[in-house]
């Protein structure tokens, strides 16, 4: 049951990602990207990481995808302009793929049958965040608040 689900989700996610990389219209690509995010969230659900999956949908589909869509909307449309093949882009992609492959092949602890662990509850995650990881959490909060205020300041200057 789980392996069937895995294959189905993997095919859908990869197809969406491929479509996001290759579609001509940018807005279609962005929406396919959102679909790929949902696929990744489905993987998290399959692995029993319910909280991570929900946050994935919440943050990436609800916020990041909308942000990307708005960015495309606010930039000029140049769909007519021919998009050539970029050798530099292909080279970088190939290099990253080779690096990842090298890292995966060298990892020894990658057993195929992972031991089953009990799914984490939201309560456990919350407790960990509020005890062991409270300082990283606070720092992240500070950075995000600074970013928020910075964005507001940038927008306000335009008016004055």
């Amino acid at each position: 049951m789980n392996s069937v689900a895995f294959v189905v989700i993997a095919i859908l996610t990869l197809a969406a990602a491929l479509a996001a990389a290759s579609l001509q219209k940018l807005i279609h690509a962005a929406l396919c990207f959102a679909a790929a995010f949902v696929g990744v969230a489905a993987f998290y659900f399959l692995l029993g990481a319910e909280f991570v999956g929900l946050v994935q949908v919440f943050v990436y589909v609800g916020a990041v995808a909308v942000l990307i869509v708005f960015t495309i909307l606010l930039t000029r449309r140049d769909a007519e302009r021919e998009r050539g093949f970029h050798w530099s882009g292909a080279l970088i992609a190939l290099a990253i793929f080779a690096g990842l492959l090298w890292a995966i092949v060298r990892t020894s602890g990658l057993s195929v049958a992972a031991p089953w662990i009990a799914p984490l509850t939201v309560r456990q995650i919350g407790e960990a965040l509020m005890t062991d990881y409270v300082w990283p959490l606070q720092c992240l909060g500070l950075v995000l608040t600074a970013a928020l205020i910075g964005a507001l300041v940038l927008v306000m200057e335009e008016k004055g």
Partner: protein, 395 residues
Amino acid sequence: MSRFLDQIFVLAKQRLLSQLTDAPDWVGQTVSSLLNISALLVVFLSLFALISVLERKILARIQNRIGPNRVGPFGLLQPAADGIKMLIKEDIVPLRADKVMHFLAPILMAATAILALGVIPYGRNMTPFAIDGGILFFFAIGSTTELSVFMAGWGSNNKFSMLGAMRAIAQMISYELPLIITVLPVVMVAGSLRPDAIVAAQGGYSLGIVPRWFVFTPWGAAAFILFFISGLVESNRTPFDVPEGESEIVAGHMTEYSGFKYATFFLAEYFGMFAISGLAVTLFLGGWHAPLPILEFVPSYAWFFAKLSVLLFVFIWIRGTLPRTRVDQVMSFAWKFMLPMAFACLLAAAVWHYEGRAFAGWLWSLGVIALVYFALSRILETGRKFAPRTYRFAE
């Protein structure tokens, strides 16, 4: 007897599933899920049909008319007539539209609205999909609505559609913040994101008669009102239906939709309204708990749907009485009033909790809410000027 009536649907499902004991495990699981899904769809589609005619009836009474009364007894078959009309109407797709997006937008919107209904506990042991982060699931699914609205606006390739979609998205993002922050105090006090646990935390009666619903605490009452207003905005209802203000932008993102696609949008809007009302009942109005100890013999799901109907009636009542707000008023209300008040609810809930959840805590938390409310109204009052409006873009 009352115990049996309360669990009648649960027992019926178990009886059905007991036929499948010989089948493999996954068949049982799939059938169980399918049963839940079909029950959910049957109940809410009939509620949708009922509410679509009741809304017209109630609005008619408010406006001193009679309302639909031609089709069937008291006009009750009106939804069937409407459905047939919608099905046989021509489906018009603009020539320059983005066909795929134009087609997918209503489907995605309705699908997410239905998904959100799945995590609400409708009665004792009657949560269709009881997952650990149910509340989070609700909002994660709700946040994808913005994408479908965008798809509708962009796919139609029409300026009114796009303007309406932009308005809708701006409004949804702004009000999602107070919506989620007003849920936080409840999650904090109940100590769980599971809707069942939140309902369980509201069981019992203080002083023997007053139910322990969160709406009877000062922070809960304030949070409930804020949540309800945000819910009005999220489901695009009057007085916050600026995205489809017909006097300004035709019908917003639904301008280029006709026939059954339009009906699907309509359905999604109502399902969203059911979902947000259902969540409000779960979070603040005690879910399926009875309001008085002597009324506990009434089945739990009856109480849930009674509370849901009251909230839906308020939705319709507000639509019948209030005029539409202006776009800039909607936005400044969200950021200047709703958001600080939502944070005040969080603080008041913390005060209530640490004062021992008793009468002293009740008074203290009322004090916090009142202080923030009067301070805010004072600050916002000084900034209010009735100067002639200046238009930046429409000259």
